[in-house]
């Protein structure tokens, strides 16, 4: 039976990971809506959600047929690749080695591209705008689907993980509708740092389970692994931190 203690890490990892991706997709959809109106933006978004739904419906039954240990190993390795990549980037960003992701800049870039097409009198602009929204939803949504499957599959936690992702979608949508602008104040790198830590911990845990490791403390080992990655991540960020004048 799924308890709150086992579901909570899956819900929070899916929620935080999805929050980052949904904010990025929302920024593009909002840019499309600002330049060309809500019709192409919502059409593209709906088509993107449709494709993601098909992906989930196809992947779901396939996952049930894969032996548990093989599934844990494959998902564990993918989570390690995904989580460590996020953590590495978040460490380098927080240390000032690479630039932070800027939602306002992303919004301005997308708006400028669509406005430029409008100036050239592109007759298919609504179609192009809808496609931009579709691409944003599909590309960011694929990552959300992976996060949900990765933290939920193999332990019967797909529903809690899906609820975490859904909560992230609804939260971004609600805030977006209220403020009606890119969610630039969302601390994207801090979220990525936290999610990178959690996904890396999940990755080691699943990979170990796939290789037959019986972790001390069972599920509690995920928390210990996460704390270890957090300490290493913070230590590395301060080790490679660049003085401000070097960034100029």
């Amino acid at each position: 039976m799924t308890t709150w203690a086992t579901a909570a890490p899956a819900i929070s990892a899916a929620f935080l990971g999805s929050l980052v991706e949904v904010v990025e997709a929302f920024t593009i959809v909002l840019a499309v809506a600002t330049v060309r109106g809500w019709r192409p933006a919502l059409t593209g978004t709906a088509a993107g959600f449709g494709l993601l739904a098909v992906l989930v419906l196809v992947l779901g039954p396939v996952l049930d047929r894969v032996p548990l240990q093989a599934l844990q190993l494959v998902i564990g390795v993918l989570l390690l690749l995904f989580g460590l990549r996020w953590l590495r980037k978040a460490i380098l960003r927080s240390a000032g080695v690479i630039a932070l992701h800027d939602e306002t800049l992303a919004f301005a870039k997308e708006t400028a591209e669509l406005s430029e097409s409008a100036r050239h009198g592109d007759r298919h602009l609504d179609w192009i705008a809808g496609l931009a929204a579709f691409k944003a939803v599909v590309l960011e949504g694929v990552e959300v689907v992976f996060i949900v499957i990765a933290v939920g599959a193999g332990r019967g936690l797909l529903w809690p993980a899906s609820l975490g992702a859904l909560a992230a979608c609804l939260l971004v949508l609600a805030i977006g509708v209220i403020v009606h602008r890119p969610l630039a104040r969302v601390p994207e790198n801090t979220l990525k740092f936290g999610v990178g830590v959690m996904l890396s911990a999940f990755g080691i845990y699943w990979t170990g389970e796939g290789l037959g490791v019986e972790w001390l403390g069972h599920d509690a080992a995920i928390l210990v692994l996460a704390l270890g990655f957090l300490a290493v991540g913070l230590g590395l960020a301060s080790l490679v931190r660049r003085p401000r004048q070097e960034l100029a």
Binding site: R85, L139, V213
Partner: protein, 68 residues
């Protein structure tokens, strides 16, 4: 086709950004699998290879990235 190519590129990019990091992680997992199956190591031994290996790979990749 353009959208399909974008999706495939995005999927690949989800897991591989720094090739050194990706290949090293795979190397650590293979090492842990060898320790577990060939040497019949205990859970502690296999787990240690995974934890120490992945943290070592992360440290090395971050230091390399900072030096670029």
């Amino acid at each position: 086709m353009h959208v399909l190519r974008l999706i495939v590129n995005e999927l690949f990019g989800m897991f591989v950004d720094d090739e050194f990091l990706a290949l090293s992680v795979i190397g650590v997992v293979i090492a842990a699998a060898i320790v577990a199956t060939v040497f019949h190591a205990s859970s502690v031994g296999t787990g240690l290879v995974l934890v120490v290996g992945c943290i070592g790979v992360l440290m090395s990749s971050v230091v390399q990235g900072a030096g670029r």
